[in-house]
Subunit: 342 residues, 2 copies
Amino acid sequence: MTGATEKIKIKGTKSISIKEIAKICGVSTATVSRVLNDNGRFSDETKNKVLRTVEKLGYKTNNIAKSLRTKKTRSIGIIVPDITNEYFANIILAIQNFFFPQGYSVLVYNTNEDQGKEDLYLKDLEAKCVDGLIYFFCMEDRGQIDAIRKKIPVVFVDRNPNRKGAVVVESDNYTGGFLATEELIKSGCRNIVILRHILTNSTIVGRYKGYRDALNKYGIPFNPDLVLDMYVNANASKEAICRLIECGIAFDGIFACTDWLAVGALMALRKHNIKVPQQVKVVGFDNVSISEYSSPSITTINQDKTRLGEIAAQMLLDMIDGKSIDEKNIILPVELIKRETT
Amino acid sequence: MTGATEKIKIKGTKSISIKEIAKICGVSTATVSRVLNDNGRFSDETKNKVLRTVEKLGYKTNNIAKSLRTKKTRSIGIIVPDITNEYFANIILAIQNFFFPQGYSVLVYNTNEDQGKEDLYLKDLEAKCVDGLIYFFCMEDRGQIDAIRKKIPVVFVDRNPNRKGAVVVESDNYTGGFLATEELIKSGCRNIVILRHILTNSTIVGRYKGYRDALNKYGIPFNPDLVLDMYVNANASKEAICRLIECGIAFDGIFACTDWLAVGALMALRKHNIKVPQQVKVVGFDNVSISEYSSPSITTINQDKTRLGEIAAQMLLDMIDGKSIDEKNIILPVELIKRETT
DNA sequence: CTGAAAGCGCTAACAC
DNA sequence: GTGTTAGCGCTTTCAG
């Protein structure tokens, strides 16, 4: 640590504009603009001249000015609940990797599932004039969603807002829930707990439906005591399972709607010296790293995060480019990954 | 899936400008601009009139145009190695939470430690005219760093580029490495493996130095066979430790420069039926979730990600605002978190 | 193939 | 207190 107080200042890099290079090349700004954007209507000679001086002077186009004219900012927004969650981070990464080579950059907004923030972010995105939005929708319908959709292209990922005409990319949560539950049943479980996120959204609804239908199919009675709602957080699920055990409610399987919820369950089981998978079996959801590296490793439902992101990105780009899009609701398949907890 | 092909189109929300509302209010655009920016020199009467019609017509200022005039975009860039890594994600989150209330939005660029990408991102950031940059510096010096610093304010986080005059916020990696190693020594270890990231940067250098100095202080000879370099990845460290065991090289402690590296080590140890912490003890670094929820839970060195992000953000904002800043190199304290692996 | 000129929406002197 | 005016740097008709 130095106690010195220093004034940081940035050199006024008086950046040169199209005008200067036009003057130097002895052509008009219009011509320079044309060669820069490869819009035709210029000779090879002028092209070379322009390009060479652009290179020499290190000219960089001012995208602000360009945006003002073209009404395109070449940036998109992402509104996401929790960037800290590996599942979301993977999708964001795929989106960024897709868009950057297309010349788009990505504004990231983290809601932490807070609707107030979500509102503010939507406003900000509009003010910043993004060309499109990828939306991990979280808020309840208050008309905002349709409002923003009227103004800019938006594609919903992961969570389905169930609005007519909305473009959405999601995993097959229903089948995921079904497969997870079926795996437990086939391994011999008859009293299957389900650990859910307390915030109801389409992913939870789908997984729960799959759970119920699997129970049904195999003739296992549904027990409402085994439905546990909580905020997604390993400690919350640990406590919930501990409570269940302490109340003496019997169960032999757990379907956790999230891998982290499964981790918490495992902690509770370990604390009570309950053997996994011998006494209780566990299935998670997402297939994030923790499920692979936890001990025991967790049987889970894989979601294809990369494709989720890529497809959403591709659809958004198509919308921005005014292309027609074939499907408005893409549902990606999921897959059971069998590991040590079942 | 519907086979229908639908043309998505966005309604041309012919947005109104300052001009319209000036006309309606019977004042000039300058006046409107003044009340909108609260720049004084207008009467309460006109203020009310303007504000009311702004409200009524739902006028929104066009930030592109504004930026073109003011040369401020109110956006900052973040260049980060891996958004998927909870450690980095936490810092990004803190930065976003700090900046949004200040009216800034955040462009995120993921390098995946790829220098080629880093170069491109730097160019893009410049073209997008961001007001500042927070930089998890990864590339080796090729002059680019100093070049960008001349153009926009940048603060380096996590990794110290060791350039004179650079503003950097980092954890006390040296002390972290020392504490981790000391913890192992005090628990009785004498043959301590260190698991390092193969990409040398200031964090690794610092932690390694701490390791060596702790060894020295306690009179334990350094054994180069116990220094293992790899890409940060649980599988890589698992394999490295397995190899060590299979080669018959004895060790009783492991200092992993990252929690995920520690996780891999634990897997290798489990595979070979080596008891932790009885036969081998392990210390990680970062204190990300996995260290808390792994089984056994991992003793680790905590880095204060939130403060790392907040301080970096505050310093960048100060630089943007042209304020003088007191310290150019903030080093945040770290802390040993004792858990089950030691 | 090229240039002149208008203007995107806003801010900031400067004059009154 | 308020209006006039001149651009910011670029694209894009329209004429030639």
